[in-house]
């Protein structure tokens, strides 16, 4: 197997002392970021990205991806001990995790959460190891129309699969594309939507917007709940870990199912948050003890955590193989790739073998190291939430401002970050999804480029998007996802007409 050989070379890269140290730093920082309200995977990576320019790309991506794994682990700590989801994807973990902590089974819940996270991530990494090269190999045949079709499919699946109003998803996404278009058009040199402003000529940098949308808005949201965090204490002993581990194999079916749900939702850019909810819902529906869910069932922790990690990790598969990220954090990493001078897309597997396989190998090790670190250091991480909110919130504001400034050394970006913090706060409260907006921001230029090149090939004839079976199939799948909400709605209307007495919808 060629992959295994390349993977071992990757391990050699990931095990270089500098990279290993960065891995451990990344995990610890990531857990801290995951625990703190207002800092998450996406904006944590965005803030640190400008500081990684002095590192070689593979070390930089190892550091940043490990922050991502750490943040995925960290979300579970606050969910279980404090009933506060540190990250949106750990909301479902609070349902059974916090009741377990109230019953004094916090250590058991945490061990189950961390172990399932690891299992989900491991499943996804194995998938990446064997499927990503094949996908990339296949995608080498893609031309501009096929790439546009893939991006179309990715964006259409947001509309078709998200739980929010399709029109709001569409609006948020288009705002991302529109903001990406602001500034100098690289093809014609024309200025777009700058309205004579020098600051706008630079365009909207996605890093600045991500810091505002995810960081500042999160602080504003958490202040609504009040100022104090009251949590449960937990210290994980080796005997608890071993006892929980002996129990876990019983739930292999839930783990497998949740991993599959997670991987599916991660590769299609539905993301970790819906994956965790869906997996929790399925586990509840299929369990004989379904009625006990929400009162502290261990399955209720295993299912969402496995799925969230599987989704979060597998979001990197399309990012590596196609250059289309599956989650906001993957989108920020993709932006990093471009800033380090790498061209995302299938050629990465051909031209940057050390980079790709070093990253994949670091995923295996990062998650293993992460599991060990979180199991050993839970009390230390939980103590972070005992720092007064006034100190944490103001320090995070300062860190966000520094992060926004360092992108271009521009004060205007700090102001932009604040404005988008308020925008993000309002949009979140109105259920406008932010993930498609961020993906559109990052992919805007590349989508437009693929669109333009396709039209150039066909001299302006849009029929090029269904000119051959491959591109037509991808486009058809995308269109099917786009009209899915409409079909669903129409079906509901027909159903309502047929049964006028029943007004309740499930």
């Amino acid at each position: 197997m060629e992959q295994l050989g390349l993977l071992f070379q990757g391990f050699a890269v990931a095990l270089e002392p500098q990279n290993f140290v960065l891995m451990v730093i990344g995990i610890v920082l990531g857990v801290v970021i995951g625990v703190l309200p207002g800092l998450g995977g996406a904006n944590g990576v965005a803030i640190l990205l400008p500081l990684t320019f002095s590192l070689p790309p593979v070390s930089a991506v190892i550091l940043l991806s490990c922050i991502y794994w750490g943040a995925l682990f960290g979300g579970a700590i606050t969910s279980i001990l404090f009933n506060i989801p540190g990250e949106p994807w750990s909301v479902a973990t609070t349902f059974d995790g916090y009741p377990m902590a109230q019953q004094g089974r916090a250590a058991e819940a945490l061990t189950a959460a961390f172990t399932s996270s690891f299992v989900g991530a491991f499943f996804a990494i194995v998938l990446i190891t064997f499927v990503a090269p094949a996908v990339a190999g296949f995608a080498l045949k893609f031309g501009p129309p096929e790439f546009f079709a893939v991006m179309f499919l990715a964006f259409a699946s947001f509309v078709g699969m998200s739980r929010t109003a399709p029109m709001k998803t569409l609006t948020a996404m288009m705002l991302g594309f529109l903001l990406a278009a602001v500034g100098m058009d690289t093809v014609t040199g024309q200025l777009r939507m700058t309205f004579g402003s020098v600051e706008l000529m630079r365009g909207f940098d996605f890093l600045v917007l991500v810091i505002g949308l995810f960081g500042i808005s999160e602080i504003l949201l958490s202040i609504e709940e009040g100022l104090a965090f009251r949590g449960k204490q937990a210290r994980i002993t080796l005997s608890t870990v071993l006892r929980t581990w002996r129990e876990l194999p019983r739930y292999w079916a839930i783990s497998l199912r949740s991993s599959l749900i997670g991987c599916w939702m991660g590769i299609t850019p539905a993301g970790a948050t819906p994956a965790s909810f869906m997996s929790y819902g399925v586990a509840k529906k299929m369990s004989r003890h379904g009625a006990d869910f929400g009162k502290g069932r261990i399955e209720g922790v295993i299912a969402p955590e496995t799925a969230a990690h599987a989704a979060g990790t597998s979001a990197l598969l399309p990012m590596l193989a196609l250059g289309v990220p599956g989650s906001p954090t993957a989108a920020v990493l993709l932006g990093g790739l471009m800033m380090w001078g790498l061209q995302p897309g299938p050629m990465l597997f051909v031209e940057q073998k050390d980079f790709v396989w070093g990253l994949i190998a670091s995923m295996y090790m990062g998650n293993l190291v992460g599991l060990a670190i979180v199991l050993a250091c839970v009390p230390a991480f939980a103590a972070i939430l005992r720092i007064p909110f006034a100190v944490v919130a103001s320090t995070i504001l300062v860190v966000c401002a520094i992060g926004a400034y360092t992108v271009h050394n521009a004060w205007f970006d700090i102001l932009l970050m604040l404005v988008f913090g308020v925008v993000g706060y309002v949009l979140k409260k109105l259920d406008y999804p932010l993930a498609p907006m961020v993906l559109a921001l990052v992919l805007g230029d590349r989508t437009e480029q693929a669109f333009r090149q396709s039209l150039l090939m066909s001299q302006g004839d849009v029929a090029i998007f269904w000119a051959n079976p491959l591109v037509a199939t991808i486009m058809a799948a995308g269109i099917a996802l786009l009209v899915w909400p409409l079909a669903n709605w129409a079906w509901g209307q027909i159903g309502a007409l047929a049964r006028p007495k029943i007004t309740e919808t499930p």
Partner: protein
């Protein structure tokens, strides 16, 4: 969040915010449409013009936000509270000093406003003494100065104080 049976808690109406947001989106879309047609949204001599792609994007955005606007307008259900008055106060208690902080950076550099922001939060929101707040703020500011200016060699905005100190 208030249930359908209870009267709405005093505060900002969700429907009003919904309508304002959708109108803002529609307005941005129309500005995008206008600017794209200004620079040319058709087929140039050498391919699609600069406004071609943004024009369609802006068109979809305007359409989708008008749909949201109309459905929010026509929604017959009971209105919800977007923010209660006390919540609004809490949010402003963070947003106002944060805005002052960002504006102050423009002329005072980052470090002094950062120390003051942390001190303000601790004293006004956290119930600490101003002395404790200022001490914590100053030490975090010095720590970030050492981290960024000296260790990472990343220059951050500096003001009169830093100039006076010779940086």
């Amino acid at each position: 969040m208030s249930g359908s049976m209870q009267p709405r808690a005093a505060g900002v109406s969700r429907r009003a915010v919904e309508v304002v947001t959708a109108s803002a989106f529609a307005a941005i879309g129309i500005v995008g449409l206008w600017d794209s047609s200004r620079i040319g949204a058709g087929w140039g001599t050498d391919g699609p013009q600069s406004g071609y792609f943004p024009f369609w994007i802006a068109l979809i955005m305007t359409g989708a936000s008008l749909f949201t606007l109309v459905s929010a307008w026509r929604d017959a259900g009971p209105d919800e509270t977007f923010l209660t008055r006390p919540q609004l106060g809490l949010v402003l208690s963070i947003l106002a000093p944060a805005t002052a902080f960002v504006l102050a950076i423009a002329w005072a550099g980052l470090y002094v406003p950062a120390a003051l922001l942390i001190a303000w939060f601790m004293a006004r929101l956290g119930g600490y003494s101003w002395r404790a707040g200022l001490l914590t703020g100053a030490s975090i500011a010095v720590l970030s100065f050492v981290t960024f200016e000296i260790w990472f060699l990343v220059p951050l905005p500096k003001g009169p104080l830093e100039t006076w100190l010779g940086y």
